[in-house]
């Protein structure tokens, strides 16, 4: 088993993916072939956008 310190880019990606998942519910992607970590996604679900649009209040 290979252990080594993360470089700066790896550390940023890891922190960003975990924080995005914990704070904003962003998906953490899995490789469909072996289920390993494949980054995170910035995709926003349709329902989230449409729900926000449909709840825009009246403006005065």
């Amino acid at each position: 088993m290979d252990f080594r310190p993360l470089n700066e880019l790896e550390r940023k990606e890891l922190v960003s993916a975990l924080r995005g998942n914990a704070e904003q519910g962003r998906a953490i992607l899995l490789d469909r072939r072996d289920t390993t970590f494949a980054g995170s996604t910035d995709e926003v679900p349709d329902d989230e956008v449409i729900s926000a649009i449909r709840s825009v209040p009246c403006h005065y």
Binding site: D2, L6, N7, L9, E10, K12, E13, L14, V15, S16, A17, R19, G20, N21, E23, Q24, A27, I28, L29, L30, D31, R32, R33, T35, T36, F37, A38, G39, S40, D42, E43, V44, D46, E48, V49, I50, S51, A52, I53, R54, S55, V56, P57, C58, H59, Y60
Partner: protein, 317 residues
């Protein structure tokens, strides 16, 4: 979702290896699924600036001016704003108009949310990262700040947005009609007599915060929908139902027989054919697209959702 930490480390090692490999040839469309973007999205911070794509800014000024010349020019008008929320900034990349079915007067405007909601599906087909950022609306006089009535609704509504903050623009027509563009304050853009003042509001804010606004070269991704907005308004409810019920439905703006038209495509299970619906004005045409060319369906029904399911049943082998 639970992921073993060792898996994360293992994948990060693989990602790093991918980053040092030679770039893929442009014709190779099968990118490895483990390749991730090198620039991670920064975590959300409180908003500190608004960035408008230049076409978005031009759309707002042009449609505000056009609105004032129209029959309903004394009414308030507005737009939903879609874009990217990242770090401490909101980048606006699309505007959805209030629509002709809006409920508006000289002191209020309530957008046609049904059509805007469906339009957001169409815009986001190729831009899944777009999110709802906020709202622009106009005031009839010279009040360049959102009203107390605006605050009561907005402070609750922003809980629906990423970062629990939204951006808000107020349009007024109280400048000098000299046709010159200027930015007299960091949160205000003017063109002739028209101006937009920009603010942010979070769920815990007691008032709107004036927000510096900048421009960057970029598109209004919803501008292509303007020529078919009438079709969107007429069919939005039924098309939205279809988009929810059927997988892989896509929408396009295409050239019709007289003007631009809204097209919907539904791939069939055989993998070679698709059902295509063209909407131009009130006219609806149903086509089956085959490898040998399109076939017009001899079928008329203004209820698109009903018609689609009838045709899908006919086409099922």
């Amino acid at each position: 979702m639970a992921i073993a930490f060792s898996d994360l480390l293992q994948a990060l090692k693989r990602c790093a290896a991918n980053l040092v490999r030679p770039p893929l040839a442009t014709h190779d469309r099968k990118a490895p699924s483990t390749l991730v973007v090198a620039e991670p999205t920064p975590p959300l911070e409180p908003l500190r600036r608004i960035v408008l794509a230049d076409e978005v800014s031009r759309t707002l000024f042009a449609e505000f001016a056009q609105h004032r010349q129209g029959d309903r020019g004394k009414e308030e008008i507005g737009w939903d704003l879609l874009g990217l929320r990242r770090g401490s900034e909101a980048v606006v990349l699309a505007t959805l108009p209030a629509g002709t079915k809006r409920d508006a007067g000289s002191c209020h405007v309530l957008f046609d949310a049904e059509t805007q909601g469906f339009a957001s599906r169409v815009v986001r087909q190729g831009h899944r990262q777009l999110t709802m950022l906020g709202v622009v609306h106009t005031h009839p006089g010279s009040m360049r700040h959102p009203s107390s009535g605006d605050y009561r609704g907005d402070v609750q509504w922003v809980a629906n947005l990423r970062g629990q903050e939204g951006i808000f623009g107020i349009g007024t027509a109280d400048g000098s009609p000299d046709g010159v563009s200027r930015q007299p304050e960091v949160h205000r853009q003017c063109l002739g007599e028209l101006g937009f003042s920009w603010y942010a509001l979070g769920t815990n804010d007691r008032n709107y915060r004036a927000m510096p606004v900048e421009m960057t070269p970029g598109p209004d991704l919803a501008l292509a929908l303007r020529p078919i907005w009438d079709e969107l308004e007429y069919h939005a409810a039924r098309l939205d139902c279809l988009a929810r019920q059927l997988n892989r439905v896509t929408f396009d703006v295409v050239m019709g027989s007289r003007k631009q038209a809204l097209a919907m495509s539904i791939p069939l299970a055989d993998g070679t054919r698709s059902l295509r619906v063209l909407m131009e004005g009130r006219e609806i045409r149903y086509l089956v697209v085959t490898p040998d060319g399109p076939l017009a369906a001899d079928y008329r029904d203004d209820r698109i959702d009903h018609a689609v399911f009838v045709l899908l049943a006919e086409l099922t082998v």
